[in-house]
Symmetry: C2
Amino acid sequence: MTEIKVTKELKGVNLPKTKLGLTKMNVLVRSAEKLFSKKGFYDTSIADICKRARTAVGTFYIYFENKVALYRYLVEQYRLEIHSVLAAATASCETRIQKEREGIRAFIDYAAKKPNVYDIIWGSLSVDKQIFIDYYVSFAESYRRGLTREGDAIKTNDCLTLAYALMGITNFVGLRAIFEEMTPDQIDTMVDECVMKLLRSGAFVDE
Amino acid sequence: MTEIKVTKELKGVNLPKTKLGLTKMNVLVRSAEKLFSKKGFYDTSIADICKRARTAVGTFYIYFENKVALYRYLVEQYRLEIHSVLAAATASCETRIQKEREGIRAFIDYAAKKPNVYDIIWGSLSVDKQIFIDYYVSFAESYRRGLTREGDAIKTNDCLTLAYALMGITNFVGLRAIFEEMTPDQIDTMVDECVMKLLRSGAFVDE
């Protein structure tokens, strides 16, 4: 993920101006990411992060005010990476329903390869709740804009709630895939036989 | 939540045999719950929990092997409480679609009153991932059983995936309600104009 370049201003983060600076910063972030996954955020110290990255502690503070600021940067990198994975997966889709199908499929593949995506993003709730809120508000708003552009292909006027509902479906169906260590074929069947049916024609017969 | 009685055997938890024991145990759990919300799991010590509960540290170890065991008990209490809230809200519903509507509505109300439900349950990812997995696997399985009983009222054969999708919708639409501090009327509109439409007839026109 080293190549994901954050340009957004983030509290407590000083974005480097040189390529060398960016490399040094990302070595620290990758080191932190591994340690957070292994030992958790609270049991990982700045000294641990620097030791693993073979970097002087002073270098850490050039880029980050504290550990929470690094976490904020890490979540922003995940956000950008997920956006780019979804954009690539849906680029050649012609209809909205195809876009949803390929987007859901790509997210589940991503999460299956990188299951700590849940730990990092949902774990932000216990690090700094605002990181969690900013992540989902921003993701939902960008999803909403995409849905709104589709016009009549969408059955509801409330595209923001639909965006949250779709994020929920994708995240939770992704959990099932990870819990059960599903094969790609099993994931395809689950997406086509259940999720896409739900998105096309609903789940319940209206009595 | 003191009255929620856990009967399931949980690793590292010794369930008390007397009513007085149960009261003492729950005083500790409520104390821990408040401290976890305020300071987070890792910055709360067993000594802090006992001090706030005005209980000797030795008493803690009668019921719990360690802090993670107490967390496991707390998540189980949430699971039972949420089940009982949903059961009460849907008891008089005659159709499956009514049940879903009242269940979603009740969960959002619950989460709006008790937004730390997300911190506790999703936060378990960083405390002990197995707690998180057990919670959702058990919830999904019980949801699946309910859906399967409905027979033809369900449009898919894959009721387990549908259970995950429905949990995802409910949790994420609940996040929107909390982020925007929605009024009960706004929540009703969101559920009826978007979520229920999705469950009845899907979200996308199939091109």
